[in-house]
Subunit: 522 residues, 2 copies
Amino acid sequence: MPKNGEGMQNGACLVLKTARDAGVRVCFANPGTTEMPFVGALDMVPGVRAVLGLFEGVCTGAADGYGRMAGTPAMTLLHLGPGHANGIANLHNARRARTPILNIVGDHTRAHLKYDSPLTSDIESLARPVSVWYRSVATEADLARDTAEAIQATMGAQRGVATLVLPVDLQSVSVDATLQGVVPKIPAPTFDRQRVAKIAELLGSKKPAVLLMGDRALSERGQRAAARIAAVTGAVCLSETFPARTERGAGLPDIDRLPYFPEPAREALAGRQVVLAGALAPVTYFGYEGISSELAPPESIALLAAPGEAADQALEAVADCLGATQETAATGAELWNIEPGQLTPQAIGRILSNALPENAIVSVEGGTCGYPFVTASARARRHTVLTNTGGAIGQGLPVALGAAVACPERRVFALQSDGSAQYTIQSLWTMARERLPVVILIASNRRYAILQTELTRGGLPTDAPNSRLLTELTDPAIDWMSLSRGYGVPAERATTTLQLVQALERALAYREGPCLIEMCLP
Amino acid sequence: MPKNGEGMQNGACLVLKTARDAGVRVCFANPGTTEMPFVGALDMVPGVRAVLGLFEGVCTGAADGYGRMAGTPAMTLLHLGPGHANGIANLHNARRARTPILNIVGDHTRAHLKYDSPLTSDIESLARPVSVWYRSVATEADLARDTAEAIQATMGAQRGVATLVLPVDLQSVSVDATLQGVVPKIPAPTFDRQRVAKIAELLGSKKPAVLLMGDRALSERGQRAAARIAAVTGAVCLSETFPARTERGAGLPDIDRLPYFPEPAREALAGRQVVLAGALAPVTYFGYEGISSELAPPESIALLAAPGEAADQALEAVADCLGATQETAATGAELWNIEPGQLTPQAIGRILSNALPENAIVSVEGGTCGYPFVTASARARRHTVLTNTGGAIGQGLPVALGAAVACPERRVFALQSDGSAQYTIQSLWTMARERLPVVILIASNRRYAILQTELTRGGLPTDAPNSRLLTELTDPAIDWMSLSRGYGVPAERATTTLQLVQALERALAYREGPCLIEMCLP
């Protein structure tokens, strides 16, 4: 067994060196027996920080948050098919966000697989639906190349989750000490100049238009270019409903989101030319009886840049074609006036907007406070918003965790509904252990409000016994103070606007680790 | 929209009636938007109890525990691919346990699927690895038949998880009110008389033999037959290492488990004829360098009954062939003498064995206390033990929950390691809500002890910084008192044997709901 990465080395060391040399700096891990050589390698190869999650969904969600902020992949370390399965929901979100993640899954030693022992499972079938790239390393000669190709896939045109399965015997196998990692080749994103000319012509016609923006279009550069286009064409800039990452606040154009429910979303696009800049063609989130899934007719949609392409540069090229040199007015920083009274979602959005320090990051999950916050925050100080891209619940807390690891100099907030917080509640412990000063804001209404809304939309009663039982989080209500302290996170409760303002002041003054504020809603 | 199940009905009502009429009594649910018509149906069709889990792994694990005890399937209700994915780990365990589960997954309305909206995913790819049967209902005419076939699959020869995907439009579609459910045909398990004759001959030769028992062989009937065989042949009776369900305690033969680690397991089988009665051919749990995966040479193994077959009846037939009328001596009830002192795993096993009331159920997860308990409990009062069959962590608490729902008249204990408890910790809330008097015993050693053992086995240091970080659950230690109360479960702590004895007395006197005892180990 090699004692360090500089002398003799094992397969795990080679994988780790390859990843480290390609820029991987963090491993969000929940390892088991088949990953022990890799755990050992983390002590032999310096340069990759190991972060333990008590549940795999914490690890994959944290890798998503990290990748969105860092732009480079974090690594996970998961335990065979079932351990990986616990991470699938947040990998689904990461796939929708096109977040680079190097998803490492240990497996049985190759010779053992045929015996179908208890933990044997079809990892490929489980991983393919969430991976842009999948491979189980076949021989020791493939270790470095497969790792490099996986990293290329995370950052390449498809961009997303690359799942690399490492049989444990290939982690512990001795390989030539002089073997170095293979350097992945990451192509720079490009855009299509012919589409630029066509879109400039379309928009130049002054037909009412919407620029539907996602991915790189929502970078500062993309937004500024879109604002130049809007200034000369009158086009409306809209963000896709659940963007992976948006820059927001003072100094940037006020770009609203396409609404979630189909009726207002259709209205926002009705009669307009829709130009896709880093966004997919807009469809309803769910299928509803009597409502078309397409939010705009296909003939009204034109593609400027697909997700993964250089939508920001494409927008600049369109603006240049149009001779657009001035942006629409950027928003200035402005504080909301907070009325005393009971907390409401609107008040929470405004209070949080006021409290955001420069360069904050806000991870938003949950319908109750998510929309009111984004509505309120256009004039907040400059910040970054991360949303739940794939609808798999339990994304907000781990994404905040990963963002805080990626950006230690920025203040991170998790604006989180109480129901969705429960799916990856173990995130609190890792935040406490890593001393990440995340401010966790739990919107506590003790129900799955979205489901009660959907029952009503479907003409079903919300007060029938089983419907109540399955959509209310009462009897008992979760005691967030106790739960939070159980994981080592100090907590307090706010019921009024004044209490929340003061609690946020205390939270911002506290920098030693996470803290939680339960925001009690009626 | 139909107002009740007796007049006009929708597709969800028809599915639910079919399941109810086939004996399904409980639905462990974590629904989302695409399951709302099904939630509505639970209020229209009486006879199926809805139980909410805050996380899908709680639901699938509870269905596993329920099915093991009831012998009939519980139903789950999960939200598309990502919601289902959160339940995969415990479905993996259920597959290994061959537990009947009707796994219902909602999906988008059929016409919406092609638009690849955020929650769209390849449910089939995710579900196949854990399902003995999979189907997405294609038309309304298939609803009742597909449900009946799914239930047949859960209880048939393959026995296990049947995944039935219900597009939301087929849940809400109006169907003929006179349509009744289809009645599933459940074949009775059988065994092979030719194998019986061959095994009787083998065992009659008095060659040293092991009866390796699993599945139905571990029922009372199977154990008594095995004990008759042992009495005349001298064969050793061993349980597979992780049986789905075993009857144990006073009045039954003392059947030990095949050890977990390969060296003692090989020793237990060395030089013996191995007869498989409801167990698979014994292999190592993981593959280890230089150790064969096969724990016994193939030529020494003979099959009496495969899992799913009537191993209990087959054993009786062998005993009859051998003219074996007397059992080996059954164990008598006997209490351990408990020495005062610090808690140890051995002491915990003995104290719990003493405390078990007649007909208790013990769900065991975790290496620290699992083995010492089973070693100690042969002379406890008659009880049932449920273990982690598939190695996917986070199984113990939800299985205890499901067992308590299935058997309200029996007292349920969850003997659970602290690390594995965290994967489905939300189980506590559902136990509290359902007033299930489960006694939760957390073996708190604040580490993944099994991984430290495996590091040592692999020649790796356990005290290197990252190895410690990834195998120790300290900094902060979880505050189990707070965490438990956060979910509405009263908790206390025991550090000494006397404290644990007294805490168990209080726990047994408390019948209003669950309670938790943190058992602090050094």
